[in-house]
């Protein structure tokens, strides 16, 4: 009966408790049907399929939580929302993944294989922080520098230019100051971001 489902879910200090507190995603509601994993487009590349991540969190065991935070899966998730759109319990896995990434990043537990993903995201954000809009060229170069993947995609550059698909000069918006403020307010100290 529905009345039973009204019981409050207990929030504790486990990682799943924190997830519930910060994102309202109820990890304990997952009944391990595996439907999310069955439909996840990147599951074959993940070290733990999404439903397994949930199971590991459900145990509340510190070693499991650490495995989750150090996993490659949380960085691979594309936020494609396929899993939640089919989950019978409507567990917002992408939202949870967002949170796990942030914790993993803060705790410096990013999976080595995911370093480039993080570098890309940072390059992306830096690009818009300074100009307000994304300079795809700047982003590419910046990312290449950070990831030292100089050769990858380099072949693309000339053909992109010839197709008019890559501009060299970043577009500047007028409100760059406002942008800087937004970044400062949401990401805390500027210097930390600079690092």
């Amino acid at each position: 009966m529905s009345s039973a489902s009204n019981h409050e879910i207990h929030v504790d200090n486990s990682l799943s408790g924190l997830i519930l507190k910060h994102t309202e995603v109820p990890v304990q509601k997952c009944y391990q049907c595996g439907k999310c994993s069955a439909g996840c487009p990147v599951v074959s590349e993940m070290d733990y399929p999404p439903s397994l991540i949930l199971r590991m969190l459900q145990t509340g065991l510190p070693e499991m939580e650490e495995k989750v935070l150090r996993s490659y899966s949380i960085w691979l998730c594309l936020s494609c929302e396929q899993c939640i759109s089919r989950c019978p319990m409507e567990i917002d896995i992408p939202k949870m993944m967002d949170y796990l990434r942030q914790v993993s990043y803060k705790k410096k537990m990013v999976n080595p294989r995911a370093k480039n993903i993080v570098r890309f995201h940072k390059a992306f954000l830096d690009s818009i922080r300074t100009t307000g809009r994304l300079s795809e060229f700047g982003l590419t170069v910046d990312y290449k520098l950070r990831s030292l993947k100089m050769m990858q995609d380099l072949t693309l550059v000339p053909s992109m230019i010839s197709r008019g698909k890559l501009g060299f000069i970043p577009e500047m918006i007028k409100g760059t100051k406002e942008m800087a403020k937004i970044f400062a307010k949401t990401t805390g100290l500027k210097s930390e971001e600079e690092k």
Partner: protein
């Protein structure tokens, strides 16, 4: 008819072709598109991967700018931006505390009243009704309409009830005189967010999509998102590597398909900018080597 438009970063860069075709068909159908003044990047996947407040503030500023400019309806051609802005408006409208907090961050008043349209919704409302009389050449191709993830999901926020089998673009193609096939990867993700950092994965995800469309005899894949386009078009080398075979199926924007039917020349529509040449008439889909070709064996992930 006047509408606001939020082009987003890629339409001014890698998706210039998309931008051109959006404006071309808008012009042909007497729709004036006015840019949101001094718009900024929506933050895309990077922002919400890394920082929640940032991921809400960036779109909120865009919407507040539109509100300030009196743009009540804005069309967002990029599905990724569309999804970010829709989600932001939804979240903030449902959480007054958060709304205040974000308004403070962006130092602007955010009301959350904008009517946000994706390209297909714009076409439905303002283009389709006048299409019949304007078509000069039937778009008589068999195509696979690809929606990807962000145009239909999260379906409860986007209010998209046919999220498993969307029909928006399919209907437009039919209106244009073409055929839209039923296929298996309509709403599967192409890997947008990983396009630079994990190109091989994008090759796999996009490869599955391209392969399914081609083997079902589609002459082109029709998309409505710059991310989808660049992954299926520009990333073709990675795709070919994944499939182990050269795939020639072109990828066009829905706006380009409409433009062609309206008799707008290919250059105005930006077709020359594609990596995979758009020669639909000449393109013959490959016959699957054997009908019984096995799908990729399930992979063990442990």
């Amino acid at each position: 008819m006047k509408l606001g438009i939020y082009p987003g970063c890629s339409l001014t860069g890698s998706a210039r072709d998309y931008n051109e075709s959006v404006f071309a068909i808008a012009k042909a159908c007497d729709i004036q598109l006015e840019q949101v003044p001094d718009w900024n990047c929506c933050g895309a996947t990077a922002a919400h991967n890394m920082n929640k407040e940032l991921s809400l503030s960036l779109p909120a500023r865009i919407l507040a700018q539109a509100e300030k400019a009196g743009l009540t309806d804005i069309v967002i051609p990029c599905a990724a931006c569309y999804s970010r802005l829709m989600v932001t408006q939804h979240e903030l409208n449902n959480d007054p505390v958060l709304k205040n907090r974000i308004s403070e961050i962006i130092e602007m008043d955010f009301k959350g009243t904008t009517n946000i349209l994706n390209v297909v919704q714009m076409i439905d409302l303002y283009v389709s009704p006048v299409l019949k009389e304007k078509i000069v050449k039937n778009f008589s191709h068999k195509v696979a309409c690809y929606y990807g993830c962000l145009m239909v999901r999260p379906y409860k926020v986007l209010q998209y009830d046919q999220h498993e089998d969307p029909q928006g673009m399919d209907n437009v193609i039919r209106l244009l005189g073409g055929t839209a096939i039923d296929w298996g990867y309509k709403v599967e993700c192409c890997g947008a967010g990983l396009t630079m950092s994990k190109t091989e994965i994008v090759g796999m995800l996009s490869g599955k999509i391209v392969k399914d469309a081609a083997r079902r005899g589609a002459q082109a894949i029709v998309v409505a998102c710059p991310m989808c386009h660049s992954n299926l078009d520009m990333r073709r080398p990675a795709i070919n590597e994944y499939i182990g075979e050269k795939m020639d199926i072109p990828v066009i924007y829905i706006t380009q398909a409409i433009g062609l039917a309206l008799g707008i020349d290919e250059k105005t529509l930006g077709l020359q900018r594609h990596f995979v040449p758009v020669k639909m008439a000449e393109y013959i889909p490959p016959v699957p080597e054997s009908k019984k070709q096995k799908a990729k064996e399930p992979t063990n992930t442990i």
